[in-house]
Symmetry: C2
Subunit: 299 residues, 2 copies
């Protein structure tokens, strides 16, 4: 069982892990570190973990679970930094959004260590030491992608850890994870970032108009496009193949819609628009979103 | 001043107008009609308007404002039906999402009448007689697109009407409206419908996986893609030119992002992802969305 957790990176995800442990598994001792001094200071004020260390070596020294909560592009260098200071039996895991690259980077930087990458599918558009909250993982899925031959007891301990924070654990291989998340998360973010960029670059329509009339649908995209730029840059660079593959399919489908609009083919449009409602219903039935109209926004 | 309003079409928009009048302008008499018998029955039960008529002629006979709350593809035929029964001084307006086509269709079907198209930029993903609520227009914009030479007193009366329901009125020409809304509403809906369709058609990733892991961003798109199929088919067919123009720009920008991902150009990605946050901040500052993270969803 996990008794001491070190959280490396105290932003939205790392901070939420620390707060969730305090709320849901309070006997687990938590330590933490962030490369940014202001983040460490704020993490101490908020009590995101039991002890915030100024030295990453101190933060990981006694931990039986080290959770890397940094952008996926930083995994390798952070792993190299902690390697000399880890306990021999420490499990190293993470919360990154691409899993093949993390598995490869951690395996290279931490030879002989127990590495079990994971990805809690949860988040908000906010980031930094003020963004985390204890309930972030309640009712969410945590996908764990153990490498072949991973120690069963380490896997079991990690599973129980995430379950105690309110998540349901699913085991998947890293390659399949990267394909699934390309569809359910990476492409939606890329599209949202792009359309918000397109809208803000126009000459005929002012930025002020785009903002004023955003309630017609655009504002939902601005939420996603407010996510952390460094985290998302790294996701696209580290899950490139799956993202490009899925992006290709999306643009094919968008071209078909464009053709239907150009040719006035109302039947094709209506058929497509009717099919997608069923998916929404299932998302709500399975507790992954709020049934209240318009996300329950107050009017 | 408007004293008697006829609401034609008792779905999300029409129903909300009726309920908003009852709440915010209770001395105005409301009548209503819907082509669907079950909708009329439910509208009567909910009291969406003062009197629901089974005959469209009865519904409009005494009205000084007739509001067409039907899909934009149905405007012309509905207008032709009411024409013989309108009062001579009646103002005919609507709530449709494309304005050039509505102005053209109403002008043809209602020669000599006072026509002032309008578009309250408000809605949810739900539709039908159960979807409307009185506060839908609070804090939202209503864009009014009067034709050249529209009677100033009719325009003033319509403006006051929408202000009383909680909206702020903006005057715009129909062509500009169609371009602005293509960006802030129509393209976001088209993209959302498309990506939800793409995700549900895949073979390597099951539909069940798409739904389970939708909290990574996809679920926000499913909300928009749950909107009324008939309404949206009509929007794309009736605002075709502006939609195709804006879609062309979006796909150019998406291609640039694709190229940056393929070539590993992290700087371009980071720059783009950093620019879009400012827009989100302004959307919130201007009261067009909720500042609570993740749309204030409960966790």
């Amino acid at each position: 069982m996990i008794e001491r957790v070190a959280v490396i990176g105290l932003g939205l995800l790392g901070g939420s892990v620390g707060l969730a442990v305090r709320a849901d598994a309070p006997e687990i001792v938590t330590t933490g570190y962030d490369a940014d001094e202001a983040t460490r200071a704020r993490a101490t004020e908020r009590g995101l973990v039991g002890t915030v260390h100024n030295d990453i070596a101190e933060a990981v020294r006694d931990a039986d679970l080290v959770l890397l909560c940094v952008p996926v592009g930083a995994m390798k260098s952070v792993a190299a930094k902690i390697d000399p200071h880890l306990r021999g039996d420490a499990i190293v895991s993470d919360v990154g959004s691409s899993k093949q690259s993390v598995l490869r980077d951690l395996t290279e930087a931490l030879p002989g260590r127990t590495i079990i990458p994971a990805h809690p599918v949860a988040g908000t558009e906010q980031s930094g030491a003020d963004a985390g909250f204890a309930e972030l993982f309640h009712g969410r899925w945590c996908i764990v992608t153990p490498p072949e031959g991973a120690a069963p007891e380490a896997l079991a301990a990690l599973r129980i850890f995430w379950q105690r924070l309110g998540a349901t654990v699913e085991i998947m291989d890293a390659e399949h994870h990267d394909l699934v998340l390309a569809v359910t998360s990476h492409i939606p973010h890329l599209i949202a970032y792009t359309i918000v960029g397109t809208a803000s670059d126009m000459e005929e329509v002012t930025r002020s108009e785009v903002i004023k009339y955003s309630a017609g649908g655009f504002r939902d995209f601005t939420r996603i496009a407010a996510s952390d730029p460094t985290m998302w840059r790294d996701v696209f660079l580290h899950n490139r193949d799956a993202v490009l593959e899925m992006l290709g399919r999306f643009t094919e489908d968008l071209t078909a819609m464009q053709r239907a609009i150009r040719s006035g083919d109302g039947e094709t449009l209506h058929n497509m628009f009717s099919r997608t409602r069923a998916i929404r219903r299932q998302v709500i039935e399975q507790g992954q979103d709020d049934a209240a109209p318009d996300f329950g926004r107050k009017h």
